[in-house]
Symmetry: C2
Subunit: 112 residues, 2 copies
Amino acid sequence: MGDARKQSELLPGTLDLLILRALVPGSMHGYGIASRLKQVSDDVLQVGESSLYPALQRLLLNGWVKAEWGASENNRRARFYSLTAAGRKQLASEREEFDRMVEAIRKVLNMA
Amino acid sequence: MGDARKQSELLPGTLDLLILRALVPGSMHGYGIASRLKQVSDDVLQVGESSLYPALQRLLLNGWVKAEWGASENNRRARFYSLTAAGRKQLASEREEFDRMVEAIRKVLNMA
DNA sequence: CGTCTCCCATCGTCTATCGATGGAGGATAT
DNA sequence: ATATCCTCCATCGATAGACGATGGGAGACG
């Protein structure tokens, strides 16, 4: 009873931003990206694989990340994604836009 | 060319929150809500009528706002929306969830 | 060998935002 | 008085993004 409906583990529209940001320190495979986001956000951001991989395809298509096959730490086959120059630009742009939006929403939430 | 694509004037998933918050000071008609959001946010949040009215229907259906016909300041026919008790609860809940999300995203954006 | 975990990926559904469009009615000006 | 503008309501169709369910291959480990 009274369970707060949790329909989304994510703020829609921010997934690309999060993934791009996660790749800044270096290339990672998909599973690792999801784990990292969950860890850094203290379990708040839980990106399902069915959200993650479509997003990665999107990013690839737009030329914001590139991918190459390699072996994971545990010697398993994995696809490593990394930022392109365009990806870094996009990241900066999306970050600005996000800040702009959050700031605007804050103004509304705090208005008289 | 190279025009920064602006696909959304809003952070998806935050419109209900914004509308509910706008109604806290008192009842308003739809057009007024949109104007107020735009004004308070310094023109950042531009809610189109085709986003606004479906959202209001949603809120009505969920019992978070109620509506009654009246006359606007300029003596025009208008529908005034106002918060219900459930709406106030929902507002508090959505606000918490929003803060939680933004905080989590911040952690990611600022990580090593 | 059987099972677990890692890691990839797709399909179908659902929900939400948005562009386009339409209309009623008071206000304003010519 | 009538044309036109602005306010305010509302719906429809397209598009996009997140999610649940599902499936599979390939090391690791008992």
